[in-house]
Every structure is written in C-alpha cells, then in structure tokens.
Amino acid sequence: MPELDLTQLKVGETGKVVEIMGGIGLIKKLAVMGVTIGTDVKKISAQFMGGPVTIQVGNTQLTIGFGMAKKIIVEQEK
C-alpha cells in the first residue's frame, strides 16, 4: 500500500495513520481528538489553494490546517 500524507490522500478515501511527523504538541493535539498511530481517517474535504483539510475519525469530524495535514502520513486503504 502506498504511503501518502493527508494532503495527497483524495477526498473520499480512507487511510490508516502510520506516522505523525510533528512535535509533541501536534501529537498531543491530535491524540485528544482521537487521531493516533493506527487510527483510520477518512478525508471529507480539502479547501482550495493549500487550505485546510477535513477528516473523519470515528464519529468526529476534524478540520486541520494544510501544514498539519502534510505531517500526517497515512497508508492508503481500499
């Protein structure tokens, strides 16, 4: 399975988080919302021109900035 970051994942596709390439601050912030290594996230939308990305984790929808989305590496699932 190819590894992508969340900005590269297509809207409607699902991926399993394999790496968060950020500091402890980002890792904690994401964990609080339920995004940790191993969780499945579905991409709901992406705004134009490097805008934020919206993902679904469990029953939570979460919007994160483009920069943060770039740091979240997922393994694409079919």
Binding site: A31, M33, T36, I44, G58, N59, T63
Partner: protein
C-alpha cells in the same frame, strides 16, 4: 455552599444540561459570552442549595486556549464534577473522563445525546461502563429532558472513580474500555450528514455559504423592517406621541420638559431629534434598534445552533490567513455584528495573543454593532442601497486592509485552524428562543440605561455650552479633515457611551449624504463604546489597548480624510 461543575468536551450539551438542572427553582446569572466564561446557577439537592457551574468546554486538562484555561482553573473549586460525555463519541470523550478520574474528585458521568446513539447504530452497556469507571453513569438527552430525573437522583451518590492508568497508557486503556462496553452496527448516512459533507466541500460549500449569507441578510431585514414599520413606529406615533404631547404642554417650558421631552420640532415631537429622555431616549433603543437586534439574534442563534458557523470558518480559512487569522475568527466577527462586547470575549477561542489582538482590533474598528447598523440604516437608508453600500463597503475594505497591515507589521505567525466540526442539528426551538430572549434581555437591561444616560448628557452638555466649546477646539480635525460641521463633535463624544445615540445625533445637523456616510464610518471606527472598551482593555491589557487605540485614531482620520477627498 457546595459547588458542582459541569465539565466536558466542547459541544456535548453541558449548557443544555445546565438549563435542565437549574431550570427548576433557580436564579441563573449569565455572564456575557457564555461560551468562554463560566455560568452559575443553583439547584436544590436533598434540601441543600448547591451552586452549579457551567464550565467552558475542554478536550483535555492541559489547556491550549484561554477558554480552556478557565475550565481547568475552575476545576480546583469544584466539590463534585458532573462530567458530560457525548455518547456518540465515547472514545474521544473518555480521554477527559480518565484525566478527571485521576484527580480523585467525586464525579458522575453523563452520557448525553443518548438519543443520537440509536440513529448512529451505537449501543453502550451502561452498567458495564459504570463498573469499569467506578462512578455513576447516567444516559440523558438534555434537549428533550430525558434522563434528567435519574441524573438528579444520582447526583448525591457521586464518588471518585476507581479506574487507574498511567498517562502513557491512557489511550490503550480507553480502547480497552470502549471495546468492552460499546458495539457498533452498520447504518446508512443520514440526510444531515450528507448536507454536512457538501457544505464543507469548497465546490458546493461556497455556493451554499453565499446563499446562506444572502438569506440571512434578507430575513434580518424583513423581520427588522417589518417590526419597525408595522409594530413599533405605529405604536410610538399613535399612542406614545399624543401622550408625550400632553405631558409636554403640562410641563410648559421648564428644565424638566427639556430633559424629559426635549425640543419640539415644528411644534411636534420628533423621536430622533427631540433628544428627551422619554422621547428619543426610549424610541431609539426600543423602536429603532431592538427590532434589528431581535431579528439579527434570531438568525445568528439559528446558525449557531445548527452547527453551520465552524463550516463557514473552514471555507473562509485561506482568506482569513491573509489577515493574520484563521477561519474560526469569523465567530467573534459575527458575534461582534450583534454587539462588540461578546465579540471581544469570543476572541478567546483563538490560540495566540497575536491573533487575539488582530481579531479584537479589527472587530472594534471595522465591525459595527447591530444597534449602530440599525441607526445607520434608519438614517441613510433613505438615500438608497448605494449609500449603505458605501458605508459598509468602506468598513469591509478597512477591515481587510487593516488585517493585512497588522499581519505584516506584527511579528510572528498565526497558527493553523484546528477545529472539530459538529454534526448538523436541527435547532431545538425552545432553546433557541430562550437564547434570543436572553440576548434581548441583556440588550434592554444594559443598553437602554446607557442610551438614556447618553441622552441626558447631551442635554447637559448643550445647556452648559460644552459642545460648542469642544466643537470649536476640534474644528480643524472635524471640519478641516473630515468635512463635517463642528457640531458633529457632540456625536463623537456621545459615541464613547453609545454608538446608536451618536448616529441619531447626526439627524438634526442637516448633513449631506456624503457627510452622513463619512460620519457613519468615522463613528464606527474611531473608538469603541464604553462597554466594549472595558472588555477590550481587560482582554488586551493596558499596552495592547494603547496600541489598539493608536491604530484606531490613525485609521479613522486616514479613512475619513480619503473619503472626504474622493467622494
């Protein structure tokens, strides 16, 4: 008195629960800006009066925003914690629950939005969860009142939880608990979920946002104008005016008549120009401003309760970064359109000091409150839409330019958006009207006295000759730069108190359309009213406030001068 705290993630229904619990036999006091400050109420439990505090929502006990800091600070004061959990989001919510349990305070866990679990195909074994956590667990639906009685009955048996885990093992532990107590079944997407998805995708979301903005604007105008034209003006003209005329002839021409009734214009009372406490002092807030305040809050409250605002924030995020903010900053701006005070408080949802400064100054300078908007519409609406477009268009341009400028000038970056998007909910109309009513009540209680005070001061100043005196001193600025008659200084002075009265004071000056447009823009920008000033000073600190004031004054004169030259 014992203190009970309602603690939980944002958007889990703490406030709805708060209303339910304190609704019987209570006095609820409401601090302005309920989302960022705490709200207190009382309930009687086994004959004992208990203070219940609605704490701002937080995801974690390691706060990242000032609103979350309030929540964590409040925790130290609580005797019992009522931990409100979104039953449809058990896993994420248990993170806070376990952190709370670690503090060993007596607590009760409330599984709120219980009704939603059914549509979402979620089954939770409540007894098992109760046993695992070691605290009472009560399912509720705060909006409909289901389960509130049970919660009430079990509050007394609140106790410290028994589940234990190390910081590093918390997520593992949560996973374990959830897999034991929760089962999921497959289900189809609901209409609301589909709507949620299309309104956050740019290709469909941007048209939806434009339609929403257009409809909101139309509805606010329709209700506001309707109430003024068919209810308030007739009542004042047909009932109140004759009464006041009688009172006027009874009082003769003494000092009391000047204060209460004001000047008669061509032998009649002019509710805008007379400037008496019982004429202008009542007419302006009740008949000109209140209808718009009501219709605005009706629409805003609907948008707030439906869950649309965060989605709108996401759509405008890229643009908001150009002015040093992120998408969520539209929330203080929208609240500011109602009243700048809650708007200033709502800047606390932003993470950094830099963002809060930019958002607060932009709002204070370029976002007129509904009271002022209503007066501007009342005063220059007669020149047609293009006159209004000049005022509000200029303010919007100022808002953008000042934002870009501050983003460039102030050191640092603004963080990216990071926000949970709530599911859409059809607003529960009981709660919606209660909210609108609270805001209206706040307006009547807090704004009307200030309007009256403003009118009173105008009278005193005029009779003492203060206006003439100051007008001549400031004439070089007011006449020279802004092109306004020197009497406009009176409006600028009263604007410190109330902007709506200040706009009304322009009426008798016989200004041209150009002068009215400039005066409206200047009155919006130059300085916030006293209520907003007080809150801003608290939020920004003395140094921040001095900086903000300088920006205001410079910007006002620049914009006023440019408008005077090119219009």
């Amino acid at each position: 008195m014992k203190k009970f705290l309602l603690v939980g993630n944002p958007n889990v229904g703490k406030s709805a629960l708060f209303c339910r619990l304190t609704g019987i036999n209570v006095i609820t006091s409401n601090y302005p800006g309920t989302t960022v400050e705490f709200t207190k109420g009382y309930l009687i439990l086994e004959g004992e009066k208990i203070e219940l505090i609605d704490v701002p929502g937080t995801y974690t006990l390691e706060p990242t925003t000032p609103a979350e800091e309030v929540a964590v600070r409040m925790l130290k004061e609580g005797d019992t914690v009522i931990n409100v959990v979104d039953a449809t989001n058990l896993e994420r919510n248990l993170n806070l629950t376990l952190q709370l349990i670690k503090r060993k305070v007596p607590m009760v866990v409330v599984l709120n939005m219980w009704d939603d679990t059914k549509h979402k195909g979620i089954t939770i074994n409540v007894e098992k969860l109760e046993k695992t956590l070691g605290v009472p667990v009560v399912p509720t639906c705060a909006v409909t009142g289901e389960g509130i009685k049970e919660l009430y009955d079990r509050l007394a048996s609140a106790k410290a939880g028994t589940v234990e885990c190390e910081e590093s093992e918390r997520w593992g532990k949560i996973g374990e608990i959830v897999s034991e107590v929760q089962t999921l079944s497959h289900r189809h997407h609901t209409f609301w979920e589909r709507l949620g998805d299309i309104s956050i995708k740019p290709a469909t979301g941007i048209p939806i946002a434009l339609i929403t903005a257009f409809l909101s604007f139309k509805i606010i105008r329709f209700i506001g104008e309707g109430l003024i034209g068919f209810v308030f003006e007739p009542v004042f003209e047909k009932l109140w005016a004759p009464l006041m005329m009688k009172l006027s002839s009874l009082l003769g021409s003494g000092f009391l008549k000047e204060i209460l009734i004001g000047k008669l214009i061509e032998g009649k009372i002019d509710f805008v120009e007379s400037m008496g406490l019982l004429t202008t002092g009542i007419f302006v807030p009740i008949a000109m401003v209140l209808p718009y305040v009501f219709s605005f809050y009706l629409v805003l409250s609907f948008l707030e309760d439906s869950g649309y605002l965060p989605r709108l924030g996401v759509l405008v995020d890229t643009f908001m970064h150009k002015i040093g903010l992120h998408g969520l900053a539209i929330i203080p701006m929208m609240l500011g359109l109602g009243c700048n005070v809650p708007g200033a408080l709502a800047t606390r949802v932003l993470e950094t000091k830099r963002e809060r400064f930019i958002a607060a100054t932009l709002m204070a300078i370029a976002v007129p409150c509904m009271a002022q908007i209503a007066m501007i519409v009342g005063l220059i609406g007669k020149y047609g839409a293009h006159a209004l477009a000049l005022v509000f268009g200029t303010l919007f341009i100022v808002w953008v330019i000042l934002g870009v400028f501050q983003n460039w000038l102030i050191k640092g970056d603004s963080p990216e958006i990071f926000v949970e998007i709530p599911p859409y909910r059809l607003p529960y109309f009981g709660a919606l009207f209660k909210k609108v009513w609270m805001r209206i009540k706040w307006f009547i209680q807090d704004a009307v006295p200030f309007v009256m005070l403003g009118v009173l001061i105008v009278n005193i100043f005029y009779s003492l000759g203060v206006i003439n005196f100051l007008g001549k001193i400031f004439a070089p600025f007011i006449t020279g730069i802004l092109g306004l008659p020197y009497e406009a200084v009176a409006a600028l002075i009263i604007g410190f108190l109330r902007k709506d009265v200040a706009v009304g004071m322009l009426a008798p000056l016989g200004l041209t359309m150009k002068q009215l447009v400039i005066a409206s823009v200047v009155l919006t920008m130059y300085f916030p009213c006293i209520a907003t000033f007080t809150v801003l000073a608290k939020e920004l600190g003395v140094r921040g406030m001095v900086k903000a004031t300088l920006i205001m004054i410079v910007a006002t004169f620049l914009v006023g001068a440019v408008m005077n030259l090119i219009l």
